[in-house]
């Protein structure tokens, strides 16, 4: 059998990194364990390099069970990047509020591995295991702040609800398997094209939508996310918001466009309605929030709504839009959450009201927050605008109402983003002492800011990369 291990270099490297972080953590004295963060970050950087170098090394393993195409590689790079940013941004937070360095860092790496596997998954089993690896890692991470009951409560909620959604997803997968007689996505597509066993597919479809909708936090399957986002340690929240969501979108596209593409007529309107609901509910409920993490959680529900728009179109342009948007969304979200984490280190509060005068205490952080929030709102010349342009142009023909709704709601979202801006910029701080972030967090912030700006002003290169990647998605 031909099994080209070189295609798995990224996965293997991550695996090795995760294990070595874990083992090192067990071996070194606890005083030097805080260095593990840097170790993990550097290691991830190395993996990132490997992934980028291996970009063009694409192929299919095990008769389509494992797909290493441009699409997967794009997402892999994205996950690794976000992991790097999250780890860089979380050094101090972890030191102060979590402890357990090696478990934390290795679990983050393993979660990343889970996402990477998801991106490449070509069959249901790989997909399921990748997803579960990620989910279980996140359950642990969410509950990691054991002293804080909120963190545990969030862990509990996430565990139980994620398990239920896993069950639903699995049930859906099993029915699709039953309807088509295969679990390899490419073959599923052929079977569906032949007609398949439609009644089962309908239920399977619904359950997959529900299960994956839960993972991406689309309304009405979103209800876990505000609570979990609020309770989880902030760096975890940010990783949950970007990594988990992006990975889920990766398999969502894989399943629905790759596998069930021929049923587009059935699920397109459904997804459109979910997208619309997500934009509406996410943005509307974000308005009265007073806790910044909770507000960002609702906002990320709305973001999921925007990204779903790309799925509705079910075209190459739509895939490209999703990829582009997911990519820029990472930087905006990580940037915002890193600020939240860093500010929490100092003022021990996530209330928006306590951000008063942030621009005077930490101008960089306030600016990054501003830029990231506005990018999420889609204000030009920030990346979010270009992303929305890509997404919404795909549904102009056929779903014009979605375009209206999406753009108007994204302007409504400016309202609550600006409330944060208002507090940060207008007020004078109660305590004028400057807030130090540490160089690693600063690096994350600067990267997030610069990339958000650059992608907004000069999105050409990324758009082209996304374009070629999206092409491989349909070529297979």
């Amino acid at each position: 059998m031909n099994f080209d291990f070189s295609l798995l270099t990224t996965e293997l490297a991550l695996f090795v990194l995760g294990l070595s972080t874990f083992v090192l953590g067990l071996v070194v004295p606890s005083a030097s364990r805080r260095g593990l963060g840097s170790f993990a970050a550097l290691g991830l950087l190395l993996v990132l390099g490997i992934a980028v170098i291996n970009w063009s090394n694409q192929g299919v393993l095990l008769n389509g069970m494992y797909l290493v195409d441009g699409y997967a590689n794009f997402f892999k790079v994205m996950f690794i990047l976000s992991a790097i940013l999250v780890i860089l941004g979380s050094f101090r937070y972890i030191d102060q509020h979590v402890g357990h360095h090696f478990e934390y860092y290795s679990t983050v790496v393993f979660a990343t591995l889970g996402m990477v596997v998801m991106a490449s998954a070509g069959d249901f089993i790989t997909l399921y295991l990748g997803m579960e690896l990620m989910t279980i890692s996140f359950i642990i991470l969410v509950a990691f702040r054991f002293m804080d009951t909120k963190s545990l409560e969030a862990g509990m909620k996430y565990l139980l609800l994620a398990a239920m959604s896993s069950a639903v997803t699995l049930y859906g997968l099993s029915l699709v398997y039953g309807a088509t007689g295969t679990i390899i996505i490419g073959e599923v597509a052929e079977a569906v094209a032949r007609g398949g066993n439609s009644p089962l597919l309908v239920i399977g479809l619904t359950m997959l939508v529900a299960g994956l909708g839960f993972k991406v936090a689309a309304v009405p399957f979103h209800m876990w996310s505000p609570d979990v986002y609020e309770g989880a340690p902030t760096p975890v929240t940010s990783f949950l918001a970007v990594g988990s969501k992006a990975a889920s979108f990766a398999i969502l596209l894989r399943l629905f466009l790759g596998g069930l593409g021929d049923l587009h007529g059935q699920w397109a309107m459904l997804v459109a309605v979910l997208a619309a609901l997500s934009m509406l509910v996410g943005n509307l409920v974000a308005i009265p929030q007073t806790n910044i993490k909770r507000m960002l959680a609702y906002s990320s529900i709305a973001q999921a709504g925007y990204i779903l728009v790309g799925l509705v179109a079910a075209t190459e342009a739509g895939v490209k839009g999703v990829m582009f948007y997911a990519f820029l969304y990472i930087f905006a979200t990580v940037g915002a959450f890193t600020v939240v984490a860093a500010v929490y280190n100092k003022i021990k509060s996530d209330e928006i009201a306590d951000y008063a005068g942030l621009v005077q205490r930490a101008p960089l952080a306030a600016t990054v927050m501003l830029i990231c929030l506005l990018s999420m709102a889609g204000i030009p010349p920030l990346a979010g605008f270009v992303g929305k342009f890509y997404l919404f142009q795909t549904v102009v023909q056929g779903y014009m109402w979605l375009v209206y709704l999406g753009l108007i709601m994204s302007m409504v979202s400016v309202y609550y983003y600006l409330r944060v801006v208002l507090v940060m910029f207008r007020d004078d701080p109660k305590d004028p002492s400057p807030i130090e972030f540490g160089s690693a967090a600063n690096m994350t912030l600067i990267i997030a800011m610069v990339i958000t700006l650059v992608l907004g002003i000069y999105p050409g290169p990324l758009a082209e990369v996304a374009n070629t990647a999206a092409q491989t998605f349909f070529l297979r």
Binding site: M156, L160, I203, M223, D227, Q266, L270, L284, V285, Q289
Partner: protein, 644 residues
């Protein structure tokens, strides 16, 4: 020199403009320098204007073919506007008159405004005014004229409100601007019509095109409308009824200003404009009748108000309104010569009287009520006697200037009547009666002011030479200025006429009537206000006809009407609209924003924090979606049915 002046006529307005700039930017801190600059500029203009006048009046060719040169101001496809100079006898006369009066009044002002902290500013305004007025006069284009028209309005506004410490001055300035603005609105519409229909605002081109208006596809009715619209501008500017209300209030400004702007020059701009566009009015008899009637009515109307006024400048102001009515009447009956002639003579005697009044006020420290004066001629002989000359001129006593011009107007009106316009008789009657009233109220003022008993509380003194010199010069013109237009040697109508110059035969009868009316008026005033030292008869009369007296004294309550209109209609309307804007237009927006917020707050409480509720919602959604997908959607039902 003459040739240079003709070719550089644009220098005439430009020099004062330059003076304005110099004063504003350079010499403001040095009052004397400022006034010198200003006077030098206007004097140079005057010299130039004299040369031009010499050149034009000695060359008969200019009457038929005016000297015109222009350059492109701005333009685009289908709409090009040129600015330029149009020198014909009418404008030349105006140039000469305006520059001279302006020069004299500036000289006068050096004395009158002595010591005022805003001395330099005052002169800069005067220069700006002179520039605009001269620019208006030589305009070859109606748009250019409109620009200058508004600029003189601005100067008028600034100068009326010059005494900024007086609230009344501020209010008067606003009123003046607003009222003329209403007139300008009509005029602007007229200009737009002209531009759109005839494609040009150039005076000479219009003069060629308007008579052929039918080729431009418009009816006589529309042309009449256009003419009336254009006429609304002069109604505002020249204080014709019903937009006359600002002119008496404009006397809040310094007296030289009243003399220059609100008597001699600016207010006659309306008359001048009608004169310039007479080719338009001449086409439409209906509009001419309107002009004539409004003129005559204004003349009479203002005269009746002037009978009872007490403030010296206010009396003069109503007299100005009245005299402007005369001019309009003349134009309305079709005689450019008569109108312009009266404009010319009026400029001198009215400026003279205003300056005289200024001299009086100067002496009495701004005590304005004529009933508080008396016997001033003893202490102020130059002022007094020049004023008397002015009074004789306006009353129409030969050989003073006013006699000739007023006589001419009466003559053309009568001629108009006899040529088949029955309205003309009414106009003639109004004009003659006004002539009588004019003589009466003017001399009432003169008797009360300069003759009779001296009031002990007054300590009058003659004004400085800088002020008396202009008085003397103007008195000279008021005396002799009319002689160029006597029926026996009528140079005037040879120079300035519209259509064929008409050689009205000197009508001795009319002259006698005119003189009689003037003398009667003066005589009546003599009886009431000079002979009757206690003025008992007048008081009895006022008692007996109390209603009439009150109506006249309160100016027919026109101001009150306007005030009521502004307060209760415009302002209240604005308030209502503002309420609507805040509560309805904006209310809808705020309501939408509020709804968004409330719905967000409402939806928020679905999030109960209980994880099993979340699960419940989750699976409810699954159930609903499955049901809808499986049974609700026709396409999926088809797929279900055809599940082979």
């Amino acid at each position: 020199m003459v040739q240079f002046a003709l070719n550089h006529a644009w220098l005439v307005p430009l020099l004062p403009a330059l003076a304005f700039v110099i004063i504003v930017f350079l010499t403001r801190p040095w009052p004397r320098v400022s006034s010198t600059v200003s006077i030098a500029a206007i004097f140079s203009s005057f010299v130039l204007a004299s040369s031009i006048a010499y050149g034009v009046f000695t060359n008969p060719g200019f009457i038929e073919k005016p000297l015109e040169y222009s350059l492109r101001w701005f333009g685009m496809e289908g709409f090009t506007v040129k600015v330029g100079v149009l020198l014909d006898p009418t404008s030349t006369m105006m140039l000469f008159m305006v520059s001279m009066v302006a020069a004299l009044i500036q000289i006068y002002s050096t004395g009158y405004m002595e010591g005022d902290p805003q001395y330099s500013v005052f002169f800069s305004y005067l220069s700006l005014f002179a520039a605009s007025m001269l620019g208006l006069v030589i305009s070859s284009n109606l748009l250019q004229m409109f620009v200058m028209w508004e600029l003189v309005g601005l100067c008028s506004f600034l100068l009326i409100g010059f005494y900024t410490f007086k609230i009344s001055a501020r209010e008067a300035a606003k009123k003046a601007f607003m009222t003329t603005r209403i007139g300008d609105f009509g005029m602007l519409l007229g200009l737009l019509f002209l531009q759109i229909i005839f494609g040009t605002l150039d005076l000479t081109e219009l003069a060629q095109r308007v008579p052929a208006f039918e080729q431009f596809g418009i009816s006589l009715g529309l042309l009449t409308l256009i003419a009336i619209l254009v006429f609304i501008g002069p109604i505002g500017k020249s204080g014709q009824f019903p937009l006359h209300v600002w002119l008496p209030d404009a006397m809040e400004g310094p007296t030289p200003v009243s003399a220059l702007i609100h008597a001699a020059t600016m207010v006659v701009a309306g008359v001048y404009l009608v004169g310039r566009t007479l080719f338009l009015f001449a086409e439409v008899p209906g509009a001419m009748e309107v002009v004539a009637f409004i003129g005559a009515f204004t003349a009479l109307f203002a005269a009746t108000i002037a009978l009872t006024q007490r403030e010296i400048k206010r009396i003069l102001a109503y007299s100005t309104v009245s005299q402007l009515g005369y001019m309009m009447l003349a134009l309305g009956v079709g005689s450019l010569s008569a109108g312009m002639f009266h404009l010319w003579t009026h400029a001198f005697f009215k400026a003279l009287m205003f300056l005289g009044a200024g001299s009086v006020l100067h002496a009495l420290h701004n005590k304005a009520d004529v009933w508080d004066m008396g016997g001033l001629i003893k202490k102020m002989p130059i002022t007094g006697w020049t004023f008397v000359i002015g009074g004789l001129a306006i009353a129409g006593i030969p050989p003073f200037a006013g006699f000739w011009s007023k006589d001419e107007i009466l003559a053309v009106t009568l001629q108009y009547a006899t040529h088949g316009h029955s309205l003309g008789y009414v106009l003639f009657f109004m004009a003659t009666f006004t002539a009588f009233l004019t003589a009466f109220y003017m001399w009432r003022m003169i008797f009360l002011t300069f003759f009779g008993k001296e009031k002990p509380e007054n300590h009058p003194h003659e004004s400085p030479r800088s002020m008396t010199f202009p008085l003397i010069v103007l008195a000279g013109f008021a005396t002799l200025g009319g002689l160029i237009g006597t029926p026996w040697a009528n140079y005037w109508s040879k120079w300035i006429h519209f259509g064929q110059p008409h050689h009205g035969e000197p009508s001795i009868g009319l002259m006698l009537l005119s003189v009689f009316l003037g003398v009667a008026g003066i005589g009546l005033a003599y009886i009431f206000y000079y002979k009757d030292e206690e003025k008992l008869r007048v008081k009895q009369l006022a008692e007996r006809y109390q209603t009439l007296y009150k109506i006249s004294f309160n100016k027919y309550y026109v101001d009150e009407l306007y005030l009521w209109f502004t307060r209760t209609v415009v302002d209240a309307g604005a308030k209502v609209l503002y309420w609507f804007d805040i509560h309805v237009v904006d209310g809808i927006i705020d309501g939408m924003a509020g709804f968004t917020k409330v719905s967000g707050r409402g939806l928020r409480y679905l999030q109960t924090g209980k994880l099993q509720t979340y699960a419940l919602v989750f699976f409810l959604a699954v159930l609903v979606i499955t049901v809808v997908l499986a049974f609700g959607n026709p396409t999926s039902a088809g797929i279900l049915g055809g599940g082979k």
